[in-house]
Symmetry: none
Subunit: 207 residues, 2 copies
């Protein structure tokens, strides 16, 4: 497993290198000190995982991550931070970062790294606690008057996000035909005429 470590603080960076290389099957291919170096190192080594501090002078780890992911959406980037800031977490998630850990517990970095390497996403304990607060509340509309099932409601909400039948099918693991049937039923029940009216109705009801 080829790793590149990037940290502002030279001490931390080399400490990380040492810790990581203690793990079997781990090679630290490069060590950098700021965002732009990160970019270069990534291009040069194409590491399996990029371990990067988020707060760095010059170019921040977040920006560097954004850059790298733009060049290579498959890049696996694990961000390290000393404190957990919602703003950062959200951005990092949107960019497609594969993990977000607190620097505190060094022992948990290695397992996290391996999990990330298999394509999974890992969040540190403190980060996880914050996650639920960041989640959108599902818009609940009272369709009680009609008898709308949970699944139908789900379909409606996806229609109201502008998804096509095919996309909804993919999202819910149904066939496109089934989605059409669902919508047809819903329209029948609600007396609406097409998906656009459904979306409008749904969004207007959610106020």
């Amino acid at each position: 497993m080829k790793i590149v470590v990037v940290d502002d603080d030279v001490l931390v960076a080399s400490a990380l290198k040492t810790i990581l290389e203690a793990g079997e099957d781990v090679t630290v291919a490069g060590v950098g000190g700021d965002g732009s170096e990160a970019l270069e190192l990534y291009r040069q080594y194409k590491p399996d995982v990029m371990l990067m501090d988020i707060r760095m002078k010059n170019m921040s780890g977040l920006e560097a991550a954004q850059q790298i992911l733009k060049e290579d959406p498959e890049a696996k980037i694990l961000l390290l931070t000393t404190f957990s800031d919602d703003e950062y977490i959200v951005k990092a998630l949107k960019y497609g970062v594969k993990g977000y850990l607190l620097k505190q517990d060094y022992t948990s970095i290695l397992p996290a790294l391996k999990a990330v390497c298999t394509g999974q996403t890992v969040f540190g304990t403190e980060i996880t606690v914050r996650l639920p607060g960041l989640i959108k509340e599902e818009k609940r509309v009272d369709w009680k008057e009609y008898e709308i099932s949970e699944k139908e409601l789900k379909v409606i909400s996806l229609v109201a996000e502008g998804l096509s039948n095919k996309e909804i099918a993919g999202e819910l693991f149904l066939s496109e035909g089934t989605v059409r049937n669902y919508i047809s039923n819903i329209l029948d029940k609600t007396g609406l005429r097409d998906r656009t009216q459904l979306a409008v109705h749904y969004l207007n009801a959610a106020r």
Copy 2:
């Protein structure tokens, strides 16, 4: 590391057991087949990590997780699923589940397990892709940004009332084809794909 595995499907459950025990330092203390068993097994063994299918007859994995976490908020529960449903992910997160994986890639279960064991949270690839969509975000559509004429705006607002092309044509004394052209242009300018997306954007922007 002491694990309890719970899966509806006996074959899968034993397969998991085998896979896990191949890992060093892993003991599968118990194997169960549904939610209520999960609860008992957890009480009995207090495993380091609980690996549980989400879709099971009788009591679902999600419910079981909720129960267990109510009794022991420190419980580390890793849910397995064959499909990823936003609804479930959100709920699982709120309950405090420590991970959410797809059954597909068995090889990645072990690393995930270890990461969870250190207190981190792990999401499978497919799940991660869905996460950003679940995050709260500010909606902003700036119609000024595109050069939308008065007439076009009128068309948009009618679309957002759920009118068909024919109806809009009648309303604005245009031919149906012209309305279609209008909408086609608008979609082109805005980068949207169809009238439903247009309606959704319009309504969301009006907040």
